[in-house]
C-alpha cells in the first residue's frame, strides 16, 4: 500500500472551520488525509500542539486562520503569523522539513481553497515520505 500521510489540521472556528464546512456543503472532494481540530482562534495554537502532533505520528500539521485583518479577535491571526517563523526555525533545527508544517489563511467562503490547500499539502508530504519524528523518538526511548 502506498504511503498515506497523516495531517493534523488546527482550524479557527470563525473562518477556516466554517470554510471547511463549506467545502462539505458544496461537496468539494479532497484527500482524506486531514484530521481537523477546532480551536477558537489560530492564536490558540500552542507550539506544543505541533510538537505533540509530530511526536505522535503526524506527517504534517496544517494551521488555518482568518485572512490577515479578518480575525474575529481583531489580531489573533497576526500573533500566529509572527509566532510561526520562530517555530519553523526550531523545527528546522530538529531536522523537520519545512513543508511539514504549514500556515494558511482560509476564509469562511473559501471552501474550494481549503480543499486545494489540503490536496496540495497531502501530495507534497507524500513526496517527502513519512515523518521520522515518531520512530526516532521511539528508538530514543528504547535506547534509553
Amino acid at each position: 500500500m502506498s504511503f498515506e500521510p497523516k495531517i493534523v489540521g488546527f482550524l479557527c472556528q470563525w473562518c477556516s472551520y466554517t470554510g471547511a464546512d463549506l467545502a462539505g456543503t458544496s461537496r468539494i472532494q479532497y484527500r482524506p488525509n486531514i484530521r481537523v481540530i477546532r480551536l477558537m482562534c489560530s492564536a490558540r495554537v500552542d507550539p506544543s500542539f505541533i510538537a505533540k502532533s509530530l511526536a505522535d505520528g503526524a506527517d504534517g500539521v496544517l494551521v488555518c486562520g482568518c485572512h490577515p485583518g479578518d480575525c474575529h479577535y481583531a489580531e489573533g491571526n497576526y500573533k500566529t503569523m509572527r509566532r510561526f517563523p520562530f517555530l519553523k526555525k526550531m523545527l528546522a533545527a530538529y531536522g523537520i522539513e519545512d513543508e511539514r508544517v504549514r500556515l494558511e489563511w482560509v476564509s469562511a467562503s473559501e471552501g474550494q481553497r481549503f480543499a486545494d490547500v489540503v490536496n496540495d499539502m497531502t501530495e507534497r508530504i507524500r513526496l517527502l515520505g513519512p515523518s521520522r519524528v515518531r520512530s526516532k523518538l521511539q528508538t530514543d526511548k528504547a535506547e534509553r
Binding site: L22, T25, S26, D70, S107, S109, Q112, R113
Partner: protein
C-alpha cells in the same frame, strides 16, 4: 415680543396653502406683521431692515418648506436694523413633516412654535402609550439582523420577517467588503447563526407582512408564512431533493449567473439551513400534484410536503422596524451600456458573485463563454471556470445614479465597491488592465481615502469622466468616454465591463408604506422623522427605519443605524412609554405645550 412672519418658498408647488397659514399667523397677538413673499423672492436686506425698524420688529420667523435658504438675508437685515440676530427663527414645513396637502394644521403648529421660539420637536411630543414588549422587524438583511440581535440580546422578543428563504440579505452575496477587504461571509454568518439559534427571535423566512392593525405600542401584525414545503425542523440539508429536482431556474442568490432547482437552499450557509420549494416553478405545485414529485419520493427523511399551505399568523407587537433594504437599478434601462445585449457587461452584484470564492467559478474572474444548453437547446453565455480571463476590465461608476433621467441621488456605496472590484481584479489577474470611469471619487468614510489611494497605486487607471457608451467591435467591447483630466476622448477595448448600478428602494416598499402609513421621500426611500435629530424614527409612533431603506448607506452606517433603532425600541420597552403618532397631536395641543415651554 413683536414678531414678523415671512413666508418664502424655494420651489414651485409647495403642498401647503401658505395663505391659510399666513392668516393663522396674523391672528397670533404678538405677530405684528405677516408677509407672503412667494417663490424665491428677490430680497434686499436694506429694505427689510427698514421694515423691521419701522414696525419695531424684535423677532423674525421665516416660514416655508425650506426657510433656511432665506435666513442669511433676514439675519443681515436684523443686524442692519440693530436688532438681535439670534431672533431669526425658522418654521420649516419640510423638516417637521408638513409635507402633504392635508398638513395644513401641522404647518400652523410649526409656525406657532417658531413664533414662540420653541423648537417644534420639543413641543410636538405625542402622548406616551403603553408598549408591548415584542418587536417586529421587516427585512432580514444586515440591518434587520443587527437590530434583532441588539433587541433580543437585551432579552426582549423579536419577530424577524424575511421575504426570501434565508436571512442575510445582500451582504451575504458579497465577496469582500471595503475598505478592509474582509470576507463578508466570515463576519456575517456568525450573526446569522446567532439569529437562527436565538431564543428570543422568532424567525419567519419566506414570509411577508400582510396586514397591520392596532395603534402605537399595541400593534397587531398578520404575517403570511408562505409554505416552505420542507419541514425546517427535520430537514438535514442533505441535498438529495435538489439532485433529483428536474426544474432549473436562475439562482437569485447568485444574481442569476448560475442556476438552482425548484427545491433549493439559497446558499450553503443559509439560515435557516434548510431547503425550500419555489412554488412558482415547482412542477408538482403548478400541476396541482399531478406531475413530478421527484423530491418527495427521494427525500430520505420525508420532510417534504409539497401540499403544504400558506399560514397566516398574528402577532402582537409594540414596535416595528423597517429594514427592507434595496434593489439595484435594472441596467437594461440604460441602453447605451449594452447590458443584456453584450454578455460580458455585468452588473455589480453579478460580479460580486463571480468573484466570490463560493461563486460559479470558485472566485476565478473569467469572461462568459458560449455553450450549448442541452435543456433549452440554445447557445447560451455562461461562466465557466475554464473560461478566458479578461485582459482588460472597465468599471463604470454612477450607472443610473446622480442622473436626473434615472436616480438623481448618489448611491453612496458604488465608488468604494468599484474600487474594491478593481482591487479584486488586480489581485487575481496581475496583468489585467483596469479602468475606472468616475465623476467624483466619493471615498468619505474611515479608511476609504487610503483605500482609494492604494487602488490607484496598484495600477488601476482612473478616468475622471463618466463613460457614455459600450459597443462591440472586433469581438471586444469598446468603452467610450471623456478623460476630463487628460482632456481627451478615450476608447478602451476591454473584455468585461462592470456597471456600478445604483440602489433603488426595495420593490415591496410601496406596499409597506400603504400598510404602515409611513411616508416616502421623492426618491422612494422611507422618510425619517427628522433628518438630523432623529434619523431612525418616523412620523408613526413605534415605527422605525434602519439601513438602506431610509437612503443608501454602507455597511458600517447601516449597522450603526440598526443599533440606533434598537435604542429607540429598548427605550420604549424598558420605560414602558412609547410614543404615539405625531399626527395624533392637534394644533391646540401643540400650542398649549409651546406656551408651557415658552414660559418655563
Amino acid at each position: 415680543m413683536r414678531t414678523a412672519v415671512y413666508f418664502c418658498q424655494v420651489e414651485q408647488g409647495g403642498a401647503i396653502n401658505v395663505e391659510a397659514v399666513a392668516k393663522y399667523a396674523s391672528n397670533l397677538p404678538w405677530v405684528a406683521a405677516v408677509d407672503v413673499l412667494g417663490i424665491r423672492p428677490k430680497l434686499e436686506s436694506s429694505v427689510l431692515a427698514g421694515q423691521i425698524k419701522a414696525s419695531e420688529i424684535e423677532r423674525i420667523v421665516i416660514a416655508g418648506d425650506s426657510p433656511g435658504f432665506f435666513k442669511p438675508v433676514f439675519t443681515r437685515a436684523m443686524a442692519t436694523a440693530g436688532k438681535n440676530t439670534n431672533e431669526v427663527r425658522l418654521a420649516s414645513f419640510r423638516a417637521h413633516g408638513a409635507r402633504r396637502q392635508d398638513a395644513l394644521e401641522r404647518a400652523k403648529a410649526i409656525v406657532a412654535c417658531a413664533t414662540r421660539a420653541v423648537p417644534f420637536p420639543l413641543a410636538a411630543v405625542p402622548d406616551n402609550t403603553p408598549v408591548h414588549p415584542a418587536t417586529l422587524i421587516i427585512g432580514g438583511g444586515i440591518a434587520g439582523i443587527q437590530a434583532a440581535l441588539e433587541i433580543a440580546d437585551a432579552g426582549k422578543p423579536v419577530y424577524l420577517v424575511e421575504r426570501t428563504g434565508t436571512i442575510g440579505g445582500h451582504m451575504a452575496m458579497f465577496d469582500k467588503t471595503f475598505p478592509t477587504l474582509d470576507c463578508a461571509a466570515c463576519i456575517l454568518t456568525p450573526k446569522m447563526v446567532s439569529v437562527g439559534q436565538h431564543d428570543m427571535i422568532g424567525l419567519f423566512t419566506n414570509s411577508q407582512l400582510e396586514e397591520l392593525t392596532g395603534s402605537p405600542g399595541a400593534y397587531k401584525a398578520k404575517i403570511r408564512k408562505r409554505a416552505r414545503r420542507v419541514d425546517i425542523k427535520s430537514c438535514v440539508s442533505c441535498g438529495i431533493c435538489t439532485d433529483h429536482c428536474p426544474v432549473v431556474v436562475p439562482s437569485e442568490f447568485d444574481s442569476c449567473i448560475t442556476t438552482r432547482k425548484a427545491i433549493y437552499i439559497p446558499f450553503p450557509q443559509a439560515v435557516p439551513n434548510t431547503y425550500l420549494v419555489d412554488a412558482e416553478n415547482c412542477t408538482y405545485v403548478q400541476s396541482g400534484g399531478k406531475k413530478c414529485g421527484a423530491c418527495l419520493k427521494k427525500c430520505p427523511k420525508e420532510c417534504i410536503n409539497l401540499n403544504e399551505k400558506d399560514e397566516v399568523i398574528e402577532v402582537e407587537i409594540g414596535n416595528i422596524i423597517l429594514a427592507t433594504g434595496y434593489d439595484v437599478l435594472d441596467a437594461q434601462k440604460i441602453a447605451r451600456y449594452g447590458y443584456g445585449k453584450y454578455p460580458n457587461v455585468l452588473t455589480a452584484l453579478e460580479f460580486e458573485r463571480l468573484t466570490n470564492a463560493s461563486g460559479p467559478t470558485g472566485g476565478k474572474i473569467v469572461t462568459k463563454t458560449e455553450k450549448y444548453d442541452k435543456r433549452t437547446k440554445t447557445q447560451e453565455w455562461v461562466f465557466d471556470p475554464a473560461g478566458e480571463s479578461p485582459r482588460a476590465v472597465a468599471i463604470v461608476h454612477c450607472v443610473g445614479s446622480r442622473d436626473s433621467n434615472y436616480n438623481s441621488y448618489c448611491s453612496r456605496v458604488c465608488c468604494m465597491y468599484s474600487l474594491k472590484f478593481a482591487h479584486l481584479v488586480k489581485e487575481k489577474l496581475h496583468d489585467t488592465t483596469c479602468y475606472e470611469f468616475y465623476i467624483d471619487m466619493r471615498a468619505f468614510g474611515k479608511g476609504y481615502e487610503e483605500f482609494a489611494e492604494r487602488i490607484k497605486q496598484e495600477g488601476t487607471f482612473v478616468v475622471r469622466g463618466r463613460s457614455a457608451t459600450v459597443v462591440e467591435s472586433n469581438g471586444r467591447l469598446v468603452v467610450r468616454g471623456e478623460d476630463i483630466i487628460k482632456d481627451t476622448l478615450v476608447e478602451f477595448p476591454v473584455d468585461m465591463v462592470l456597471l456600478a448600478v445604483g440602489l433603488i428602494p426595495d420593490r415591496g416598499t410601496e406596499e409597506i408604506c400603504r400598510m404602515l402609513g409611513v411616508e416616502r421621500d421623492s426618491d422612494g426611500w422611507f422618510s425619517e422623522l427628522d433628518y438630523n435629530g432623529n434619523p431612525t424614527d418616523t412620523e408613526r409612533g413605534g415605527i422605525y427605519v434602519a439601513g438602506v431603506c431610509q437612503g443608501p448607506k454602507d455597511i458600517p452606517d447601516t449597522v450603526a443605524q440598526a443599533s440606533a433603532v434598537a435604542a429607540g425600541v429598548l427605550r420604549s420597552i424598558t420605560s414602558g412609554k412609547g410614543l404615539g403618532h405625531r399626527s395624533s397631536l392637534s394644533l391646540s395641543e401643540i400650542e398649549a405645550r409651546a406656551n408651557n415651554l415658552q414660559t418655563s
